[in-house]
């Protein structure tokens, strides 16, 4: 069956309005701008190629976020997840702010689902339904996942503020 042009248009609309946020999601996941751009393109390209599989029952933004996340995860190495092997392009110089270094470490040490839920919420401003679509979990689980992540980060932030 030939995919409808509306699906392609819908994907393009999301790209046109939120590409920057998706790139940030990929960058936070891969830790490298080149791999992030690659993941962004491959995530959307993969979505275009498989757009017939999107049934329209969930959020298209969440589905696209899942595609980009999958592409970004494929481009990760364990070292990248430490956030140290970053490109110096743009504003990517490592922060010399100790507090932020500690908080960044705390973010990267969150379990993957919690970390990605934080990223999806912050960089793409997705609602719980879309985050659920992106992470392949129940909507009700999103709230709990974010709650646990925020609680863990709050403890670190309190330590930093002392």
């Amino acid at each position: 069956m030939r995919p409808s042009s509306a699906s392609l248009a819908a994907i393009e609309r999301v790209y046109g309005t939120k590409a920057s946020g998706f790139l940030r999601l990929a960058l936070a996941t891969t830790g490298n701008i080149e791999r992030a751009r690659d993941a962004l393109q491959e995530g959307f390209a993969g979505a275009i190629r498989s757009r017939e599989t999107f049934r329209g029952t969930g959020s298209i933004e969440g589905w696209l976020a899942r595609c980009v996340l999958n592409a970004a995860r494929d481009r990760c190495s364990p070292a990248d997840l430490n956030g140290d092997a970053r490109s110096t392009e743009g504003s990517f110089e490592p922060s010399n702010d100790t507090s932020r270094t500690v908080v960044r470490g705390a973010i990267m040490q969150l379990p993957r689902r919690q970390r990605e839920a934080v990223f999806l919420r912050y960089y793409l401003d997705l609602d719980y339904r879309s985050i659920a679509e992106a992470l392949g979990i129940e909507q009700g689980t999103v709230s709990a996942t974010l709650h646990v992540a925020k609680k863990a980060l709050a403890e670190v932030l309190q330590e930093v503020e002392r």
Partner: protein
């Protein structure tokens, strides 16, 4: 929870980027055939409309010094990923290739990193072709004049560039296109290499003094816009013929190096 600290950390972790792959890059990656003839005309894509509007209002905006109506402002705030202009918008050069008029404009930017970071000095530059019927652009940090070159596109003396077709109408037989780019101020010529082994030379031209950045620009007409997609490497030479800047295109797979 100190939400500001958390937000700043997340901003540090993945700052907004000025240079985002185009929708055409995505379509190419997806293997959509007949890109130029089947995709939506350039002027119908919102960001290109915005760029066209930007360039169309260059003169009045520069004249009155107002930034209120710029396309990259959304209710007074920059759209995500778009650097804030800190200078007037300046015409770099204009010309005509194969009957197509073009203009190249540029303006300075400054990207705050949040917190105590020094921020990023940059330049946005964009083309307008055929009096606003098309155009595209790029925003990058100001390149540096450093010894040695790297194949990394993130290197300080890398070459940024963009391209586009002159004729964006559906089914157009005119396939000509263009490439524009920006190099460190000591680069006098740019050799553009294509994957099939061909190369073309693009002499650089000066940036307006008011831009306040030691950069130069280059531009070249492409007999076929498709050539833009097959650029493998751009090599910038200084007045002594030495390599002073370089960018190797290694996506989707490695194909060139600057060494």
């Amino acid at each position: 929870m100190n939400r500001q600290l958390l937000n700043r950390t997340l901003d540090d972790l993945a700052p907004a980027q000025g240079e985002i792959p185009t929708w055409e890059d995505v379509l190419d990656r997806a293997g959509i055939e007949g890109l130029v003839s089947t995709r939506r005309p350039l002027w119908k894509r919102s960001w290109v409309i915005a760029l066209a509007v930007l360039v169309a209002v260059l003169v009045p905006l520069a004249a009155i010094g107002s930034q209120e109506n710029w396309w990259f402002l959304d209710n007074g705030s920059p759209k995500p990923g778009m650097p804030r202009p800190v200078s007037a918008i300046l015409e770099v050069k204009s010309g005509s290739w194969s009957g197509h008029d073009w203009q190249l404009a540029a303006y300075r930017t400054f990207v705050h990193r949040g917190g105590t970071g020094p921020g990023i000095e940059g330049v946005c530059y964009s083309s307008q072709v055929d009096h606003g019927r098309g155009g595209t652009g790029a925003c990058t940090p100001i390149p540096s004049q450093l010894p040695g070159v790297s194949s990394e596109s993130s290197a300080p003396n890398s070459i940024s560039f963009f391209g586009g077709p002159f004729n964006t109408r559906r089914g157009a037989t005119d396939k000509t296109g263009y490439v524009f780019g920006m190099v460190p101020g000591n680069v006098t010529d740019v050799n553009i290499h294509f994957k099939d082994g061909r190369a073309t030379d693009a002499p650089t031209f000066a940036a307006p003094e008011a831009l306040g950045a030691s950069v130069r620009f280059f531009g070249v007409e492409l007999s076929e816009y498709g050539l833009f997609l097959s650029i493998s490497k751009l090599v910038g030479l200084n007045g002594q013929g030495e390599i002073a800047a370089c960018t190797a295109i290694n996506r989707p797979k490695p194909s060139a190096t600057c060494s």
